[in-house]
Structure formats: structure tokens, C-alpha cells
Symmetry: C2
Subunit: 246 residues, 2 copies
Amino acid sequence: MNKPATIPLTPVNLRTACIQCNLRELCLPMGLDANEFEQIDGLIAARKRVKRQQHLYHAGDPFEAIYAIRIGFFKTDILTEDGRDQVTGFQMAGEILGLDGISTDRHVCNAVALEDSDVCMIPFDRLEDLSRKVEPLQRQFNRFMSREIVREQSIMMLLGSMRAEERLAAFLLNLSQRMQLRGYSASEFNLRMTREEIGSYLGLKLETVSRAFSKFQDEGLLTVHQKHIQILNSDALRALVGRAHV
Amino acid sequence: MNKPATIPLTPVNLRTACIQCNLRELCLPMGLDANEFEQIDGLIAARKRVKRQQHLYHAGDPFEAIYAIRIGFFKTDILTEDGRDQVTGFQMAGEILGLDGISTDRHVCNAVALEDSDVCMIPFDRLEDLSRKVEPLQRQFNRFMSREIVREQSIMMLLGSMRAEERLAAFLLNLSQRMQLRGYSASEFNLRMTREEIGSYLGLKLETVSRAFSKFQDEGLLTVHQKHIQILNSDALRALVGRAHV
DNA sequence: TTCGTCGCTTGACCCGCATCAAGCGACGCA
DNA sequence: TGCGTCGCTTGATGCGGGTCAAGCGACGAA
């Protein structure tokens, strides 16, 4: 459990952190008006750079803040003492890390950058204070929490009732959609995670993930070259996910 | 999709709803002091009786309130149009239903009573208003949301990395612990749900659940008679859940 | 009391995915 | 430029749990 060296803080003009951020329509302050933006001034305490493979926080660390991703890509995972390990999510720009720490005042997961990343640190007590004053912020925050609950429910559905290829198809479509939301191509992108991490997230072994990729490629649904994915037939992927079980 | 008749409202002295409730140390107002209890007066808009097999709400219904269970037992499930169906949780007294509806203003799950039940309806806008005034209520509510996130993460772990018997053992231990928290026996209780519902929750078929019960019984870990469970060796169950995968 | 239904148990069989194993290409480092 | 490592692919084999099927006991209705 060797923790990384202290993460350097980046000095920025935090008074305008959110207003100038081009993610504000995806992120926590989504939908706030100019006046409300003034009020949430000071929500961001710091920016942190997290290099690839570095931890943003560890399971068990005291919970003090949540983090909004400005740039980069993360995974969260849980490693139990008996060696069971599971990726619980992949997060990209505009998404929030650390919500699971609120319940026990300690982080439950590890958060690890899968590429060099940049996050906004939002001290939780400050967020609570502001949420009591700025109603739309309170509402947005509640929605983000609820959205996380819904997201996890859909993973439960996936793990509980889909077979390997359906899971991978669902995973790819989800990634594709989130890339598109951020202005990237929905059909062509680079995976940031390994086959093993995908498998861990989907409840599969890496070999099964690899085989499913190959099968999709053989069937002309997509092309894979290492981490580069090009989706050729997203309808077929959707059909896979949506098809009823006999 | 035949909806049940309107659920009858029970007239009660709602001004003292929480103060007089013996679940207040498990439920949302957990930890509030006398003064704060005064302030959250009016949080409960109504009580609802929900008879066994009746829906409290359906997936797709507009989200207006969350519900605190006073008496009874519920399941939540999702039924997708392609016939995939999954139980996403079982809820008992003091627990909160409906948090997943916040994100989209519509309920995502169905909530069905598995025995005659009694819930407190908490209109969500009223809760948001009060949360802005009563800081400990805000904190408790955030903790409940986060706790739901953590609960679902543990189900993800279970579905992603445990085998059938481990899943059932984890499920029984969890039930047992929650029974105990509510003053019931940890070692002897009646299941409210069918084998099929257990299986759906655990990502297994009902036959597999049944076989695992029989195996546990053969090994002397517990006795099963229909829905009546007596746990004889909870350490062995814990060992099953905790054991490392080779 | 009888009958029908529902939930559960148990057996037989089979399939999807895990497991084990070998090999290969990309990449980083000496 | 060569070598080691890491991530990935692919094949062979086995097993856990899904599927199909039969039967039974508890319970409710007539």
C-alpha cells in the first residue's frame, strides 16, 4: 500500500474556475445562471494533476472532498483483503469522483488515473454549505448522486442477466455515447483501459473480453487494433444488448 | 401494466410523525436533536398502506416523493421491454425507497410490497427545502444517497466475482445483520421473497438458489423449511464469503 | 375434503465461460 | 539493436451453473 508522493497543486485563478470551464454544461454546475455562478465562486479549492497510474485517493483515506474531472480518464476499483478485486467504474471529463465516501467519511474505492489527468477538488463541507444557499446547486448535486445510483443499477442488470458479448456491446455503446457527449467521435476512439480492467468491470476474464472483440471484428461490427476501436455497425451492437433472452 | 387502485392514505397526527416513531434512529432523521425534530415537522406528507403484492410506484411514474418504510418489506425491480427482469434490492423498515428517481424525475424501478406494509411519504421538494434549512437533515440525506451507492457497489462485487454459494451466503448474512439491527433475531427469520426473487437479485436461477440452500443444510450451516431460515453456523457462512479465489 | 396452483426440490444433461497454456507483437530500456 | 516485459490473442479442456423435466408439499378455493 505505498502511497504516491503528494500530488502537486496547480495554481489557477480559481475565482473563475467554473465560469471559464468548457465542461460546465456537463459538470456539477450544469444549468446554473450567471448570478448563481457568482455564488458558487470558491467551490473549487484546488486543481490537482494526477499522472497516469497515480492514485487520486485510496480506499480507506479520510473523505474530505469530491473531485470533478477536468481532463483525463479514471477508474475506480475495490480490492478486498481476500484478493477479490473489481473495477467499479470508469470516469471521464465532467464526471464526479468520490460520492461513495460520503456515507462513512472514508473513501470506499481507489481512484486511479488511466491517463494524465486534471481534477477540480471540491471540499465536501464547502459544497454542503453552498448547497444550502444555492438551490440549483443542491438540485444538481442530488441529481448527480441519483445518477450514480442509476448507473450502478444498470451495471447490476448487466452483470446479473447479460452474457459476455452482450456485456461488451453495452460497454462499448456506453463509452461511445459518453465520448460523443464530449464532442469526440462516437464511432472511433482509443480505450484507456486494458482488457483485464474491462473484464473486471464486466465480470469477465480478460480472455473472454479478447475473444468477444475478435468475434465482433470477424462479424464486421467493428475493428480493433490494440486499444483503437472503430465501430462499424452500432445498430448490430444495440441489437445484441437489446435482444430478449429465450 | 395494470396499475393498482389508488393507495389509501392513513390519517395520522403527522406533526409528531417522526418524534414518536421508534425507527427514528435507523431512518432519515437519525441523529437529529429535539430542536431539529421540531424543524422537520411537516416532512411527512402522508402515510400509505401498501398491501402485499401491491406496487408503491411503477417504473416510469413521475417522481414526486421518496418513501421511508415504517412497517413491512419491499423489493425493487426493473423490467426491460426485452423481457429482462431483475430485482435491484430488498428494503425493510427504516430504509428509503425511490432515490433513483431523482436523476430523471421519473421512477426507474418498480417498488412492490412483499408483505403488508406502511410507508411515510416524503415529498421531495419539501425535503430539499428543509435540507437547506436543517443542516443535519441535509447531511443525513446525503449519507443515505451515498450509502445506496455503496450498497450497489457491493452487489456489483458480488455479481462480478462470487460464485453461487458465496452469493447466497453473503445475501443471508446481510439479511441477518439487518434483522438484528431492527431488534429481531439474527439467526432465525422468515424470508419474505421467493427463490426466484432471490435468484434474480443474485444473478442466479431459482434452481441454483434452491440447490445452494440444500447444500448448506446438508453441511449443517443452517436449516431451511420453506421460507423459514435458521442459521446454525454463521462463521462458516462468513468464511465462504471471505475466502479468496484461487 | 378434494382439487388446482404455486413455490420449491432434485435429477440429468449441456453450454458458456473460466482455466491453463503457448505464442506474439508493441514498447521501453540497456 | 537486442532483450525483457506487458498486454493481447488464440487454442484446448473442464466445470459451474443454466436448462429442461418430473414430482412433491403447502396453501387456498370450491
